[in-house]
Each structure stands twice: as structure tokens, then as C-alpha cells.
Symmetry: C2
Subunit: 498 residues, 2 copies
């Protein structure tokens, strides 16, 4: 792709430049154009000073470059050299004013770009995109132009995948199993008062019977996975600060689905008196007044494992403790799901046991196979459900807003799906993922040997397990396998209503 | 307290009133002043039409009242009668414009009122408070003036308690116990990598050792309380919508301490594209842009039991299922605590097992005594700690911003406190509360017999138990009681760092 960068900058100096021999400046420009601004670029590439002008205390420069030694990098190189040159005349650099910054590139996309950050004007015609940027020197130091170019590449990639379905490839399919139910388990549980829709969107209160079923799922995880495979329990944070989501990559795309968390700007009671008074006088919560008094600091747990990495952040571990296997079941996850009622199959608030392992590449891959064997045993022998495994777009790519095929066959996500007989739809009810070195890299966790640390995770959604199990087997324990019936025990009867 | 209300209203009619005999209107005013606006008031009290004037299609009225049949109630009564009178002339009422509304009352407070909702001007002098209100007819129908008066009473009450300490009265004190530790357990745990401060304020990641201790606390609750006393587990919601906090009373005062939850105004990816682009170009999360795209819908779990009442909301239960005993341990609680580092003693994010029972008054009181006996056994015989019980301001009063003494001896909160030897401070580590009929009333839950339904709750903070236990006994299991050591089992060693 052809790309051109243009920059007009006014460099302000601490004194008049009239005393400097104009030959010296011409030599400096020649040095830049033949050497300094070419270093590292392929032959014929790099930046040049296209025009220059010295007047009073100012040097005006027009820089032009291709994608190598882009004009903002060229400006930085040049400033350092210029500082040395002027230093001999006891003149310093006072600042740089960016008069113009333009990017031109090939652009064959048939969709329209609307608005881009730091872009004043945007022209898209005859196969060329021209951007005029609104940037100052510090924006250039922060490499804003480079990130705009990368953003455009992201958008092209996203457009390519738009409308296409996610990658999906069958890996394994269980035997056919008998179904004993053809209704929607959510409705049936609501009728029996096992659950009740709570005050929030996609949120339920779970009564004693279904809670006991969830706890039986957990007990199966303990007996079949945690104890035999040597897992230990940890407690992962449930509020997730932006810093975590920046490191995990979620800050790239989580926004439309996040439950946002905001904290008071101050705890001072006087600051809140007006809000309290308003509520007491109207019996209405003044959300607009509240919005002005709080600030967004992150969100509620979305993917569960990312905030746990803070435990290891910046640390180096000895290789001999690997593989490490931990799990967390200490709280809720929240996603702003699409509207409408979905029952317990698709919830805004749900409960998940998050399973996390780490080790060297081969250990992590090997362990994911062990886990898959254990799950197969649980689904075939204990829950006795019909299910399948599919290779899909890795979850962290999906959550960063990236689509498409996983390039690697080692890093990626396996989704587990089961049919819901009442709707004949397939429901994804858990996953097993090998995440490569993504998290150790994002949170700077290292091994003593210097080898790459890898990790994997698997999220068991209790409501999703229940949705598939109950849809296939129904709410009557007589239709459950002997093993599962005994894992659950007697279903408690606590409440009755008139 | 002397109180006076004044109202000037312009009633607009659908036609000219010139055709109505002025005697009829005078009769109407006399009827109002001697009968209609006096009904229900003590002799000499009530409202009067002080001035009245008919011009074209308008009737202008000046109403004056004391605290009985306040002028806005008087206006409502009068409008109904006037509708009948004018109806005979085929004239209807088109609307009421409130020209002036004033409240005058005795005010001996020595502190200054600043601002009040719906109050245009506020004058506080020579023992009298004068409020000029900015209200329309619908605000009067919503009884805004009554609520302003109640708010002023609240503020007087709060001012009375300001600076005074909460009610505290010793109920019971355990024997002295040996202490084996004089350090801050948070620091010691951090040194040993049992915990690490997470990315959020007052938030930790809990490693395998301390998590195993927390789970031992839970196992003790199961063995000593849940199983013998017939408790069943439920799962309570962890996002709390404003509707719940309106019913629980928290909407009256939770604001300075809440963790607020906001949801996207829409899930439409286009709506969020600018935010995503900005992040990708700057690597900074644009919280200001986010704040404009989200709306506040409630907060994160604060008191744990309130959202569970939605399960029962509006229902009637047969008496024979009582007492009902349930608990929840399905997630985190969040409070915006005062600044500074407090370790695990005072956290923004913590884990609590919430114990909830309900029944008739005597059942609820009786059960709270059973629970207290069980706790006493746990603290004396298993944890072997030094502790005490105190009768304090009920938790729900404190959380509604109310201070002072509990009037009743049956409804109220018992705090459990233990000394932290390293700081010699007392830490409240759990409570047992009898909440009377507060929650059944707030969520409209009834008994078939018509008798009052009561409830109680007890929150076991896992971090608080750990803070007191570890501060007194230390991190070395050799100094723990045999019973607790065996409840915990071996402390797992999973991670090591260089």
C-alpha cells in the first residue's frame, strides 16, 4: 500500500538565527536528506526536508516521507541534531508548532469513513485517502499518526469480516442421547418458583432447588477435575479497573457490552446532600444529578480471568512450579446482552467457575487435552447429555472486536455446544482456550529460564450447564442419571406461595 | 411547631365566568371556608380561601392553612367541588397555574440551610424559616410540600446527632484469650504472597492459602449453623437496581459510599466506534466520552440481602412454612470506603456470607438467639478468639443516613467486635440483626394469616473474620486451635517468585 506523510513545522528558537552562516544550515539540510532521515529505510525510502526557511528566531520546515522514517520520526531525529548545531551558537530550541500534518494512502474500500480521532478533515476519493491531522508535538511524540494508520488497517480487516459468520469447525460430536423434555426450562422453573426474574435486566434470583443443582455442578468439577488434577482455589477480583482491561486487550472492544462501574468523586456527605434531598422530596432517584458526581473507573467482571493476572504482574517465577492450576468461583459476571428475554440461556448477570492454568507451551497444550478428556467424561457419563466441540474464533479476539480465522492451531478456543430440544437451537455452554503468551505478556510475567510462559482458561457457566442439561433432561430427577441424581441429593422445598 | 402554608393559584376555565351569579361563587367560598376545607382538622385549624377574584375565564385564589388540610390538599378538594359547580354552567376547568407557594415555620436551628429541592428562595431569620416554592400543579399532586417539611424534620434530627457517636452498648464479652501475633496480618500476608493488592481501590487478589482459610470459615458455617439449623442456599442478585434500593430504603442515603453501575445507552457498535477509535489511537480510555454514552441504573451489591426480596415481592406465603432460613455466598460486595490503606480490615471489595431468616415476630427473635449461641460456640471453641457483642444503631438506619438510638429493644443490630493486637483497635467483624417488618413491608410480602412477617439477617464478612482471627493468632497454623487447623487442612503452596 502506497503511503505518504507530510509535515510543516515551525521550530522556535531562543534567539535570532541571523548570526548563523546560511551555509551551515544548508549543510545540515543536506546531511539530513542524505543520511540522517534515511537511516533504517530501504534504498530510495525515508524522509526528506522538502522546503526550509529561516526567519528571525524561527525555522520553518516541510518534511515529506513514505512509510519509512515517517515525518514525525524524522522531526524528532532532526531536532536532536539541530539542538547540537544551534548549541554551538548558544541558541536553544523553544518549541515546535505543527502547522500541517497530512497522511495520504491508497484506499480502495467501498465504505465511507466518518470520523477519526485527531483528524481535522478526511477526503476519500479516486482510490486515495487524505487525512489532515490536528496534532501537536506531544501527540507526535506519542506516535498518534502511527496508531491512526494501524486503526485504519483494523477497520479494513473488520470490514472484510463484516457479515461473515464467525469461524466454526466441528471437532467432536457425542452420541445421540434420549431427551425427556420439550419445554423451555426457564419458563418451567419460573412456574415452579425455582427462579424469579430479578429487578435488573437479564437477571434472576435463584431459589434453593436450582442453587442446589448449580452446587452439584461445582461438586462434579471438584471431584472430576480440581482434586484429581491438583487445582487450588483463588479469589479473583470482581470489579475490573481500566488498567486491567488495557493489559488484557478488552479496552479495545468491550464497550458496547460492558457493565460500567463508577465511583463517587468524593465521599463528602455535603457533596451528596442535594441528591439525597431530591430523592426524599420526589421519591425518584435523580440519575442525572448522580452522573455529574461519579466517574467511570472500570467495569464489572466480564471475562473473569484477566484481573487475576495482577497477582503475578511484573513477577518472575521459577520453572519448577509449573504447571500452575487454579480456579475462581467467587462472584458474578456481567454483560450487557442484546435486548429481549432469553431466560437463563443468555443473561446479563451469570455465575461461572473460571479455570486457569499456566506453564510452558507444551504443558499448557497438554493440560488442555487432559481437561477436554475430563469434560467428555462429565458430559457423557454424569450429565449424560448430547454435546459437541467446535474450534472457533479465540474468545480474546472476539472480545477485542476482532473476527476471522485463528491463524494458529495451538492458540485458540474450543466451544462446547448442546442442543436445546424446545427450540432446536444449539447453545454454547462452556469453552476451553489456549491463550498462548497473551496474558503473561500483557501483565509482564516471566519465567526464570527465560522460556515463554503460556496460559489457558476454561469458563464453566453454571446457568449454561443448567440450560442445556435441564432442556434435554427436564426438571424431574427421575429422568436424570443415577450419578447426577446422587450428586444433587434431595431438592429442597423451602418456599410456597398462595 | 407552628407552620403556615400560603398558596396563590390561578384556575383557568374553558369559558367566561361572567354568566355565573356572583352570589353563587360567594356561597361556594363560604361553603369551603366553613366546611370543605375544615374537614378532618382540629377545631380552629384547616385551610381558608383568604382572597378570591373572578375575571374573564380565570379564578384567582389565595389559600392559607396551618399544618392541617395544607393548602395543596385544600386546592385539590376545592377543585373537585368547583368542577361540579361550573359543570352546571357547562364550563370546565382547563388547568391551574401556581403563582406563589410559601411555607413558614418555626426554626430555632443555629445552622444554615443552603439549598432545598423545589425551593426558589429560603429565608431563615428571627426563629422563622420562610420557603418560596417553585412548584406546578403536578408537584402539588405529588405532595412535594409535605415531603419538603419531612426533609426539614430529617435534617433537624440529623443535626441533633451530628458529632455524637453511634449508639453502642456492651451485651457480652468473651474470656481473655492468648494472642500469638503482634503484626498487621495484611502486611504479613502480602510479604508471604498470600494476597496482593489488585488494580482497584481497597481490592485484593487472594492466593490459594488465604482462600483455603476463607473456605474453612464457610465450612464451619455449614457444619455449625446451616446443616443443624436447616438452612438452604439461594443465589441473590449482585447488581442492585434503584428499584430495590428504593424499597429497601438505601436510596435515602447510600450515595457517598455506593459503587455505581451504568449500562450502555445502546449496544449499537457504531455508537461506540468513536470511543474504540480514540482508545486505539491514544492507548487511553476516554472516560469522558464513555460517561456520555452510559446511564446509571443502580449499583453493585452493598448490603447483600435487599435484592433477594424480589424473589418474594408481592407474594403471600402460608404460615406453616415458617421460619424460612436461607443464605447466599454467591458474590462480592462493594463500598466506596474512606481513603487510605486499611488492608483486609476495610475493603472496597469484600466477600460475605449473608444469612437471612424470616417468620413471625417471635420466631425471628427466637432464631436470632439460636444464631447468637452458635456464633458464640464458633468464636469460643473453634476460632478461639477474644470477642464481644454490642447493641448498636440498626444497620438499615445507619445505611439510610439515620443516626441515634434504636427505640425498640426487639428490632436492631448486634455487632460482633474483636481486638486487633497490632493496633489495639476493635474491629466489627459481623452482625446479627432483627429487621422487624421492614423488608416484608418494603417488598409487599404477606402471610396468609394476615399476621406480620418479620425478618432477620446476619452478614459474615470473610475478610473481617480473617482480619480478627489472624491478627490474634497469626499465620502459623501451629498457633491455631486443633479444630480450626483441621477445618483448614494443609495450606497449599502453588506460587513462588524470584
Amino acid at each position: 500500500m502506497v503511503m505518504q506523510f507530510l509535515l510543516i513545522a515551525n521550530i522556535k528558537c531562543s534567539g535570532s538565527l541571523s548570526g548563523i552562516n546560511s551555509g551551515d544550515i544548508a549543510d545540515f539540510v543536506t546531511y539530513c536528506n542524505t543520511n540522517l532521515l534515511k537511516k533504517g529505510a530501504p534504498s530510495g525510502g525515508g524522509a526528506v526536508i522538502d522546503q526550509w526557511n529561516v526567519a528571525g528566531e524561527k525555522i520553518k520546515l516541510k518534511l515529506v516521507s513514505d512509510r519509512y522514517v515517517r515525518v514525525h520520526d524524522a522531526l524528532l531525529r532532526l531536532k536532536n541534531e539541530l539542538t547540537k548545531l544551534l548549541g554551538k551558537h548558544r541558541i536553544g530550541l523553544r518549541g515546535v508548532e505543527i502547522e500541517d500534518y497530512r497522511i495520504l494512502m491508497d484506499w480502495d474500500e467501498d465504505w465511507q469513513l466518518k470520523k477519526l480521532p485527531f483528524v481535522k478533515t478526511l477526503k476519500q476519493e479516486r482510490g486515495t485517502l487524505t487525512l489532515a491531522l490536528d496534532v501537536d508535538e506531544s501527540a507526535l511524540a506519542n506516535r498518534i499518526p502511527d496508531r491512526i494508520v494501524r486503526l485504519l488497517e483494523d477497520k479494513k480487516e473488520a470490514a472484510k469480516w463484516k457479515g461473515k459468520s464467525e469461524h466454526w469447525e466441528l471437532l467432536f460430536e457425542s452420541e445421540k442421547k434420549p431427551f425427556y423434555f420439550d419445554k423451555d426450562p426457564t419458563e418451567e422453573m419460573a412456574n415452579r418458583c425455582w427462579i424469579r426474574h430479578a429487578a435488573g435486566r437479564g437477571q434472576f434470583v435463584y431459589g434453593p432447588q436450582i442453587t442446589k443443582i448449580f452446587r452439584a455442578f461445582e461438586r462434579i468439577l471438584f471431584d472430576e477435575i480440581f482434586t484429581p488434577l491438583g487445582y487450588e482455589e483463588m479469589i479473583f477480583p470482581k470489579f475490573v479497573s481500566w488498567d486491567v482491561w488495557k493489559r488484557s486487550g478488552h479496552a479495545k472492544g468491550i464497550y458496547p457490552e460492558a457493565y460500567y462501574v463508577c465511583t463517587p468523586k468524593t465521599r463528602d456527605p455535603d457533596y451528596w446532600e442535594e441528591v439525597i434531598d431530591y430523592y426524599k422530596v420526589t421519591n425518584e432517584v435523580p440519575v442525572d444529578m448522580i452522573m455529574k458526581r461519579i466517574e467511570n473507573v472500570g467495569g464489572m467482571c466480564y471475562a473473569q480471568c484477566p484481573p487475576s493476572w495482577v497477582f503475578l504482574q511484573g513477577k518472575t517465577m521459577p520453572d519448577d512450579i509449573l504447571p500452575v492450576k487454579v480456579f475462581d468461583r467467587s462472584g458474578t459476571s456481567h454483560r450487557y446482552e442484546s435486548g429481549g428475554l432469553h431466560g437463563i440461556e443468555r443473561l446479563d448477570e451469570f455465575h461461572r467457575v473460571e479455570i486457569l492454568w499456566m506453564g510452558k507451551k507444551e504443558q499448557v497444550i497438554e493440560h488442555s487435552k487432559q481437561l477436554r478428556a475430563k469434560y467428555r467424561h462429565i458430559f457423557d457419563e454424569i450429565l449424560d447429555i448430547e454435546w459437541r466441540e467446535a474450534w472457533v474464533t479465540p474468545w480474546f479476539m472476539a472480545q477485542e472486536g476482532k473476527a476471522g480465522l485463528a491463524e494458529l492451531r495451538e492458540v485458540g478456543t474450543i466451544d462446547y455446544e448442546g442442543v436445546l430440544p424446545y427450540s432446536a437451537k444449539m447453545l454454547e455452554f462452556q469453552n476451553v482456550s489456549v491463550n498462548g503468551d497473551k496474558y503473561p505478556k500483557g501483565f509482564s510475567v516471566k519465567l526464570q529460564s527465560g522460556e515463554q510462559l503460556w496460559s489457558g482458561c476454561s469458563g464453566v457457566g453454571l446457568q449454561r450447564w443448567a440450560a442445556v442439561f435441564l432442556a434435554q433432561k427436564g426438571l424431574d430427577p427421575d429422568n436424570w442419571s443415577e450419578k447426577f441424581r446422587s450428586a444433587v441429593g434431595e431438592l429442597p422445598e423451602v418456599f410456597r406461595f398462595l
